[in-house]
């Protein structure tokens, strides 16, 4: 599209217009929901006749909604810890280790991404029902860990591959022990990648619906499950506020991750 001697003909304009329309299609619903959530009217209309925080008040004022935020956060934090630790160890082994069958092991670690979530969800449901553990935060966190693990592995593997192992070798040659080298050289440099992976694990869990749908109890509902139950009953405008909240969480996580990735790249590249 840039300088290559081509004149801007009607065909080019049409393609760009179509692409622009698709971009609008992608971003408009998200933006509209956020705007509409500040609507003061009873009905969700766009643009809102006047602004108000009533739906947010309703959202944060209702105990069951507040409780679901707590549940989602607890589950997501647990998932974040589990998935990041397991994923970091697994990536270290895969990138650094020397053994056969790496391809197969990678495939295994990524397989939860391939299997439709509904199947993973009912599998976990049958499993936890047998041991009477449905409705527990831990059960949901473990289920989400299965989904978050591939994400963490992908991010960590990329980070580790970008890390110049000669830095660690230099530390060893200067007399540092393996542990010290890891602690003082490697870890600080891969930290942005680790944090980024952790954030995505958190987000994966926070956004998830299908697994908690089966594993939730009456008292213990995640935010997403609560939305689902509301939607099935009625289209309550409060949900717009809840949705904006979720969009906000996503944006913050994406922004933080991008920021960390920027820092990380400049740190590990020599």
């Amino acid at each position: 599209m840039a300088e290559d001697g081509q004149r801007t003909g009607p065909g080019v304009v049409a393609v760009m217009a179509l692409a622009g329309a698709v971009l609008l299609f992608l971003i408009a619903p998200v933006v509209i929901i956020v705007i509409v959530s500040f609507s003061g009217a009873e009905y969700l209309s766009f643009p809102p006749p006047f602004l108000s925080l009533r739906w947010y008040q309703r959202f944060l004022g209702t105990p069951s909604w507040r409780q679901s935020i707590v549940v989602s956060t607890q589950v997501a934090l647990l998932t974040m810890v589990f998935a990041t630790v397991l994923g970091l160890l697994a990536s270290l082994a895969l990138v650094r280790g020397r053994f056969r069958g790496k391809g197969a092991i990678y495939a295994m670690l990524l397989s939860p991404m391939i299997v439709p979530t509904i199947i993973t969800a009912i599998g976990l449901y049958f499993f936890f029902v047998r041991i009477k553990a449905t409705g527990s935060i831990l059960a949901m966190a473990l289920g989400h860990t299965v989904l978050a693990l591939p994400v963490v592995v992908i991010i960590m593997a990329a980070t580790l591959q970008g890390f110049d192992i000669r830095l660690e070798q230099a530390a060893l040659s200067l007399g540092a022990s393996r542990v010290t080298a890891l602690r003082r050289i490697t870890l600080p440099l891969i930290l942005p990648g680790v944090l980024s992976a952790a954030l995505f694990a958190f987000l994966t869990s926070f956004d998830e619906l299908l697994i908690p749908l089966f594993l939730s109890g009456v008292e213990v509902q995640t935010l997403t499950v609560r939305i689902w139950n509301s939607l099935v009953l009625e289209v309550d405008p409060t949900i717009a506020a809840v949705s904006s909240f979720l969009i906000g969480v996503t944006t913050v996580v994406l922004g933080a991750s991008a920021f960390l990735r920027g820092r990380g790249e400049s740190a590990t590249s020599t």
Partner: protein
């Protein structure tokens, strides 16, 4: 001795790998095996549940609806996604980065939020109808929700980024010098696109199409919320059989069928886009 030190190191790495694999084995592989087992067991091993799926017309209709909707979603995603990917691949890097954000942000937003947004837009008193009626384009509200149209729109919205990113990554690898060479040989913009760029972007089209189709097959949330009675997809059926009619064995059989279709699809996808290449380490 060097050999045993090497072996010790190898074992150390395998040990470090173990926890992740254990978690997956217990919480993923074992439950999957449980599903497969459940699908063939009812007082002895039997294929009755599978027979039920393929003999009873209702269930065949569900399979058909699943394929039909997935195909429509794939086509729509391709029609919308290819031009966007093309613009992304051929514009300046700074612009491309900004546009990529617009593609990525919805991608990471929860599916339920994205589905809800479309419910708000497409309902009888939804925003789209508000405008369409205010502009006088129609007297009665358009039925855009609780039917196939709604499902296709909603699912396409969720899956579009997959198509765009897959096609875009292939397009990025096409040498711009080739199109320039075509122009220098006398090809018009359309000729250069049709004969040079398009064929070279074919792997991206194939990969994106296959990926979106496979993912559509297993969709639950969007069709459940936005579809009508005739738009039941297989994932919805599975949920109903587990939660409501409590036919866990039958649900398991359905799950196995869905899984089989998915795996076949991904095998094909892997041939087109070598996923493993990312991980062939320098190790």
């Amino acid at each position: 001795m060097k050999a045993s030190a090497e072996r010790r190191e190898r074992l150390r790495y395998l040990l470090v790998l173990f926890p992740a694999l254990l978690v997956l084995a217990v919480l993923f592989a074992y439950p999957l095996l449980g599903i497969v087992n459940r699908s063939v067991y009812k007082a002895g091993y039997t294929l009755d549940f599978y027979r039920q799926i393929f003999r009873v017309p209702v269930y065949l209709q569900v399979l058909w609806a699943t394929f039909r909707v997935s195909a429509l979603v794939t086509l729509l995603c391709l029609a919308l996604g290819y031009p966007l990917a093309y613009v992304l691949a051929t514009c300046r890097p700074r612009t491309a980065r900004l546009l990529t954000i617009i593609v990525i942000l919805p991608f990471f937003t929860s599916i339920i939020v994205r589905t809800y947004a479309w419910m708000v837009l497409l309902g009888r008193n939804g925003i789209v109808n508000q405008y369409v009626m205010a502009l006088g384009l129609t007297d009665t509200p358009l039925p855009l929700l609780y039917n196939q149209a709604g499902v296709v729109i909603g699912m396409s919205y969720v899956l579009l980024p997959y198509m765009v990113l897959t096609v875009y990554s292939v397009m990025r690898g096409i040498d711009p010098g080739l199109v320039r060479a075509a122009h220098s040989l006398g090809a018009s913009r359309l000729q250069a696109f049709r004969r040079i760029f398009l064929p070279l972007s074919l792997p991206g089209i194939a990969g994106g199409t296959l990926l979106v189709f496979i993912l559509s097959l297993g969709f639950f949330i969007t069709p459940a919320l936005m579809g009508g009675p005739g738009d039941i997809m297989i994932a919805m059926l599975i949920e109903r059989e587990v939660e409501i009619t409590l036919n866990w064995s039958f649900a398991s059989a359905l799950a196995v069928v869905l899984l089989a279709l998915t795996l076949v699809g991904f095998a094909g996808y892997n041939r087109i886009v070598r996923l493993e290449r990312i991980f062939e380490g320098r190790g």
